[in-house]
Amino acid sequence: MAKKNLKIIGTPVPKHDAKIRVTGEAVYGHDIKLPGMLYGAILRTEHPHATFTIDVSAAKKLPGVICVITADDVDTNNISYKRDHPILKKEEVNCIRDEIAAVAAETKEIAEKALKLIKVKYKIKKGIYEPLDALKSGAPLINKFSSGKFEHKNIAEKFYYEHGNIEEQRKKSMVVVKRTFTLPRMTHACLGTSNITAHYNKTTGKLLLYSSTQVPFLYQRDMAHALKMNPSDIRIIQPVIGGGFGSKLDMYPFEPICALLSIKTGRPVQILYSRHEEFLASPTRQPMTIEIEAGADKDGNFTFRDVNVIKDNGAYTSWGATTPFVIMQAFSSLYTLPACRFSATAIYTNNVFAGSFRGYGNPQATFALERVIDLLADKLGMDKAQIRIKNANRPGETTGQGLFFETCGHQDCLQTVIKKAGKKRKSENNRYRRGMGYASMIHVGGGAKIYRSDGCGTTIKIDPYGYCTIISGSNEIGQGSETVLAMIAAEELGISLDKIKVINTDTDIKPWDVGVHASRTSFVAGNSLLGAIRILKEKLNLKAGELLQEKSTSFNYEDGFIKTKSKQIALDKVVREMHFTLPNELAIASYFYEPSSQFQDKGFKGNVSGTYAFASQAIEVEVDTYTGNVRVLTVHVAQDVGKVLNPLLLDGQIHGGVLQGVGYALTEELIFKEGYLLNPNFHNYKLLTAADTPDIHFYPVETHDKQGPYGAKGVGEAPLIPTAAAIANAVCDALQIEMLELPITPERVLVALKNKNNK
């Protein structure tokens, strides 16, 4: 059991790696230079759908070009969890990202020049860019590697879930609202573009990859499958990662391509995306339409939700197709609900595919759900705050889907933001209109049991000088997990933070972990570390007892000493005595933590996470009716974080998440026309800046979940999940209009106003 009187946990410890990051000393993937390294570049299709022939002979002749590959030169397996994605495309392209050739050259410039020398003849074909068009009779098969297990050949994935009796609840409903919402493609826009450096050693047959993956052990397995190698012959080292947000949860073609170039040449090869390539070829948030029908009884109790989601799968499958795991949780379990029916279909098109993105479908679901709640309240003539408080989840609740809330701060969160936000300020004049919007969210807060294990391994050691090394399976993608782990060790072992090292970047060294996602790292890696510390302390206590001639094994670890009330001994001395006197034991311990969560059954029922996080936001906006611009004035955030481990890092997550949520609500959208991307640059992809940050007020709600380390829950994704929903509600409140689509661009606002005035 973790300590009670805390000295370090809960304090604003700056990020472990802050200094090397701000001084520019941190080594990102882009900074890696290996002896003899070549530069790789990828030729992508010019058209979203075409057949083609390719001639690379001129590129091969260019001095400085070492290797050129096309689909004909490689023997690989398809990638993606559906295994429907060839690494290099042969004869036919199906989306504008498609990789058709790759080169390795002595310099980046030569590599780029070589790409221009590759001659490709395209025969353009008419593509399918609307999911429902792909289901029409006569539509061609889009992905010839698809499983074909669904009723239509162009369906990539399906989900169905239900609980309760929809028809009975419909009869009980006094009001029913039905709407269809449309959600855009948003991109992660990581500051560090995608990168990989591959080094294959022809003598040993081993492959070393410097990769920014968020999931090194799954990646190792996927890479091995793609390249037909043994996973353990592949070593993954993670350099400092310049932003993840879910984008690096899957393996994409450029990564095995880089490995193939290294295998062919026997030299290290590096591929770095340009910003243009990053916009074009890194995955997006899953776009979708959500059709939802929902009801409430005369007292405002929610009765049922009937939801149908259509997702544009793009030409190949990535994690975007599995977002219904999370989407259905929001619909089944956010606010108490007697009945829910949910279906989702992912349909192949000739568009780009979507991956995972912070929130994993939840911002989409929450937007649709929270908009409909406002509409239900309007129909009932009920206050929008009160209808939410009335239906909010409660501790001890087991939802229709089987999620069990041992702790639940939903009501606290709602009441806090509603009180803090107060009444909206009066609009000053006719031009500028003010509005207030509320939204809540539920998200896994203790991992998510999707893979065979949702666990994390840790090895901890103390050296003879009293320094501690934590070897954690989990990894750092900027969220601060190294800092939190060091704080836990400092708290429990009484070792100062500067004497704690975290090793977490090398698959040859670190124990297994499923990866950074699902807001799981502090929870899972924290619990794993606490387990390892417990075992280590048993060893240290035994030796300390012997040295202090103390029978009790109840010691305090403080300031580098192991103490009883009357005696103390330096920790490093105990370690030296362990090492150098009989029976010569190492001060080292390992532990594997597996959360108490369950696999869901075939109907997606079961308690999938160790704990659940809740959050509410109240957002006030001002809309300029002349231009349609929405200014976000204040954002009040209350989040059930279980326990604040580090308020500084937590604030960072809240601010970053909220701003990302504002972007999703108002400005960010990759715009495609007939499969072509129109805005692959920051000029026209409107990522928000520091100058656009609203006033953010954060109120942590501590529910002390006994599953979490010190009572903590996962926090990383939650801050952005309800933001777009609350903003949309605020805009609709300000103008008395309907918004069925994100982002709420100035133009969409003016169109909505025009339509309202013309009615």
Binding site: Y626, T627, N629, T667, K686, A691, P746, L750
Partner: protein, 289 residues
């Protein structure tokens, strides 16, 4: 990017550089905030960039306040314009346009000459310069100067009246009238972000009012609404002789309608033509408070 660079140290070296490149493609680099982006997209193998970063010439790099005019050298940065007291007090439209440009980092290097010579329909400082009825001083390789009204400087999207043997030397702003007691001057930029934004629509206005409240002179520039920045002459003339205190809704609508006659916007990835017109109309109304 693969191009040659020459870096003249003074005006005569600059003229020589241009003279020797008369039969070859060249571009002039001042702040490079637009040029670099453009060069990245194009084949630059045969190109020479005439780099102005090292040039030392007061006429090019200074703001000079004279009795009847203000001279702004083509190499004056947006930041220098923001910080100039004479411009802030007497030509707020230009000060605001410069202050709303992109970001601090970009304002520190982006020049007014670059903003004009790029001739983007959405140039912010250029739009204010149009409203201020400024003149451009062009110099040729022989040192001969030619003065053109700024509206005539722009000949189309990204094209100017500059001949291949000329460069933009400075901009001359006429002083406000002696009778002017009050100026109603500003720059309205419409876009989605508060920084790093390119105008979706912009409007620069500079209205001079005498003591009794009557408008004696007015300049209206509109950006991102036509192939070039336009001077909305009929809208400006419409204001002259009217009293600033007594504008009615009818006046405002009339004014906005006149502004709109100069707009022929395109639809692109940032906004539709419909939106641009709608917003231009709305913000035009808002000018006459």
């Amino acid at each position: 990017m693969d191009f040659s660079v020459v870096s003249p140290q003074n005006l005569s070296q600059l003229r020589n550089a241009i003279r020797t490149l008369q039969r070859k493609p060249y571009r002039i680099g001042a702040g490079y905030t637009d040029l670099l982006m453009e060069l990245r997209k194009s084949d630059t193998s045969d190109l020479t960039v005439i780099n102005l970063a090292q040039i030392n010439d007061n006429g090019l790099s200074h703001i000079k306040s004279l009795v009847n005019h203000v001279h702004i050298g083509a190499m004056v940065t947006a930041t220098s314009i923001c910080m100039n007291d004479d411009i802030a007090r007497r030509f707020p439209t230009l000060q605001q346009a410069a202050a709303n440009l992109a970001s601090t980092q970009i304002r520190n290097v982006a020049t007014i000459g670059g903003n004009l010579c790029t001739a983007s329909p959405s140039g912010d400082m250029a739009c204010a310069i149009v409203a201020l009825k400024a003149h451009c001083v062009l110099m040729n390789v022989d040192g001969k100067k030619r003065v053109v009204p700024v509206v005539d400087f722009f000949t189309g999207p990204r094209t100017t009246c500059l001949k291949k043997n000329e460069f933009l030397y400075k901009i001359i702003l006429p002083r406000n009238h002696k009778q002017t007691q009050h100026i109603h001057s500003g720059f309205i930029k419409v876009g989605t972000r508060n920084a790093m934004e390119c105008s979706v629509v912009s409007l620069a206005y500079h209205i001079q009012v005498e003591e009794s409240g009557y408008v004696i002179d007015a300049g209206i520039g509109i950006g991102a609404s036509a192939p070039t920045i336009r001077f909305a002459e009929k809208a400006a003339l419409n204001l002259i002789g009217k009293n600033m205190q007594n504008f009615t809704d009818e006046n405002r609508n009339e004014f906005a309608k006149k502004v709109l006659t100069y707009a022929s916007p395109i639809s692109d990835v940032r906004a539709t033509s419909w939106y641009r017109k709608e917003v231009l109309y709305n913000i035009s109304k808002s000018v006459l408070v």
